[in-house]
Amino acid sequence: MAENVIKIRNVKKVYRMGQEKISAVNNISLNIAYGEICCLLGKSGSGKSTLLNLIAGLEKPTKGSIIFNKRHIERMNEDQLAKFRQQYVGFVFQSYNLLSTLTALENVTLPLIFRKVPAAERNKKAMQMLEAVGLSERANHKPAQMSGGQQQRVSIARAFINSPQVVFADEPTGNLDTKTTYEMMDLITALAQKNKQTLVIVTHDLEIAEYANRIIHISDGKIEKIQHNTNKKKATVEGGNQI
């Protein structure tokens, strides 16, 4: 198999709820390869989201190590994590999480703004990204003026604009109807495959898991089984003219 972008070694995450200790992630080890589409599948409360947060550096593990390109994420401080996210990571959230004061275009440019990319350059890039997700004519709309599907497209454009090595998607279609869900999944996987980017999807939906190369079943904070998905769903729509 290709080289691994993420190596997870014996990771534990324990939450304290009053007197009780709850192991959300219990001794998980996992490798994720470059260019892989990987799905963390599990029921609500299985610990799949916690695992994603740990990999993305949003939470610190109680034990174990997470190595991203030879760098230990669990050892980084907040500023290092901010730089790390700017450079290597894109996020797609269930609830889109667009900034309501900014237009679609500005929301897409936001990661570039934090990287101090000059306005002309970042706007050009963001326009291309919006075209790729099929929203170029909505560039100047505010989030409140767009449908859920459109907002998620903007958020996908935002996740990919930096050409990150890894894109994390946490229940990306949780708030969308079935038809839009497929559109969205087609879009995300097409974009990721085009540039050989790694995609880590968290979901409870088997249908969505079908899009992945590998499905990691998680239950009670442990890996139940790893399933190589041979009859992976193909992107049915054109993922647009990605950069």
């Binding site: 947060n53 993305a56 949003l58 939470e59 907040e78 500023d79 901010a82 730089k83 996210r85 700017q86 894109g90 996020f91 959230f93 609830s95 999480n97 900034l99 309501s100 004061t101 900014l102 936001l110 990661p111 703004i113 934090f114 990287r115 101090k116 306005a119 935002r158 930096n162």
Partner: protein
């Protein structure tokens, strides 16, 4: 994040909550306006004091007198400060004064009470003898004619009130008061000077011959110089010497306290700027002289109202503190509302510094905008205060110098940043994850 992006985003965030931003700014406006107006009243009071004092004479002139003043100089016995006591002022002392940094001119001063004759009229005044070359530098103003100049000898410059004070010595006191002041043209008519106060009456001393003098200028009425007459000191000294000689001859005894020529008790020193007056005054005191200037008077007046001015300032300061708390409150509210937004920004790569700066920029802008509008309002209220002050004849004039505008703008912005610091720090510390989780 670049500065321009930061400002743009901050303004947009403020604009989104227009009403709240406006109300917070309003607080700063009131705070700034009250502090500026209060301080301006304090400044205005000082300025009107200065104008008052300037009517009494130039603030840049120091009056120097020799210790002891001709009397037995054992005064100041316990005082260790004045170890060196200078008892006389001579030409070399004047030269020393002129060498002190900041001194523009210096002259010895003597005064004699003398009488003037113009036709059948007389007047009397204290004549000040000074170095004629220094008169213009001393800051006097002539209304007609000219100042005393180098080379003048028996030349006089009259105060306007002395000119209107001419009377007919032949009339009784009562009649003098009831008759209108005589028309005398001292600039053109023949004027004489005499030490004989009975001149022109039947008690006049025939042996005292009046001296013919030239009146070359008239000083404005009122103030310091209205009742003064200036004369070159050499000429005045001669008159004094002659008088002393005559008196000794009359009485046949030697006057032990006789004033020597070239030795004076007083001097005036003109300083180039008001700021240097105290400094020069101290140097002169070091030399063993007593020195007094109108700035002393001004300082005393300022000192007595200091308490009032401080209280005015404190009232302003309190309202600005209230405004600062308003800013903090607004920013804390904003953080609660924007917890999610902050988290999202962190997750997609905003650094801690970016988050902090964004909130500080917003707070700074509230301070800046409030300060700016506050200044505009203060300029307006300052006008109103002045109109009322003029109507009620009060000293509470308000004056807003440019530096006060600048300082209050900077101060208001600073208050904004200070008030926003805690909330900004709090926003920075929000965990990215808990921020996103907030529904």
């Amino acid at each position: 994040m670049s500065t321009s992006d930061m400002i743009k985003m901050a303004l947009r965030n403020l604009w989104k909550r227009k009403l709240r931003t406006f109300l917070t700014i309003l607080g700063v406006v009131i705070g700034t306006a009250s502090i500026v107006v209060m301080v301006s009243i304090g400044i205005g009071m000082n300025e009107s004091f200065q104008q008052q004092v300037e009517q009494w004479g130039s603030l840049q002139v120091i009056n120097v007198s020799a210790a002891g003043g001709g009397m037995v100089s054992v005064s100041n016995s316990g005082s260790s400060r004045n170890e060196k006591q200078a008892t006389e002022i001579t030409a070399s002392t004047i030269e020393e004064f002129k060498k002190i940094a900041g001194v523009e001119a210096a002259t010895p001063v003597m005064s004699e009470y003398l009488y003037f004759v113009c036709g059948k009229y007389m007047a009397d005044a204290s004549v000040k003898g000074i170095d004629p070359a220094s008169m213009e530098a001393m800051g006097y103003k002539v209304e007609q004619g000219r100042f005393l100049e180098e080379g003048d000898n028996n030349t006089l410059v009259f105060g306007a009130d002395v000119v209107t004070g001419f009377y007919n010595p032949k009339l009784s006191w009562e009649m003098r008061y009831n008759s209108p002041p005589p028309e005398v043209d001292v600039l053109n008519d023949k004027v004489m000077i005499t030490t004989d106060w009975n001149y022109g009456t039947r008690h006049a001393d025939k042996n005292l011959k009046p001296i013919k003098v030239d009146v070359v200028g008239i000083l404005p009425s009122g103030g310091e110089t209205g009742y003064a007459v200036f004369m070159p000191i050499k000429a005045l000294e001669q008159i004094k010497q002659d008088q002393q000689e005559y008196e000794e001859k009359q009485s046949g005894t030697k006057n032990v306290n006789r004033v020597k020529k070239g030795v004076y008790q007083n001097a005036m020193v003109k300083v180039a700027s008001m700021e240097e007056v105290q400094q020069v005054q101290d140097v002169i005191k070091e030399m063993g002289f007593q020195a007094y200037s109108l700035t002393d008077e001004l300082e005393t007046m300022k000192e007595t109202t200091k308490m009032l001015r401080m209280m005015l300032g404190a009232i302003g300061a309190i309202s600005l503190i209230v405004a600062a708390i308003g800013i903090t409150n607004t920013m804390v509210m904003a953080i609660y509302e924007r917890t999610r937004e902050i988290g999202v920004m962190k997750v997609i790569g905003a650094s801690l510094a970016d988050i902090k700066k964004l909130f500080l920029t917003e707070a700074a802008f509230i301070g800046f905008a409030g300060g700016f509008l506050g200044i505009i309002i203060s300029l307006g209220s300052s006008k109103i205060v002045n109109i009322i002050a003029v109507r009620t004849n009060s000293d509470m004039l308000s004056s807003i110098p440019l530096w006060l505008c600048g300082a209050s703008l900077v101060f208001a912005t600073f208050i904004g940043i200070a008030a926003g610091y805690l909330p900004a720090k709090r926003a920075m510390k929000l965990s990215a994850l808990s921020a996103i989780k907030t529904e």
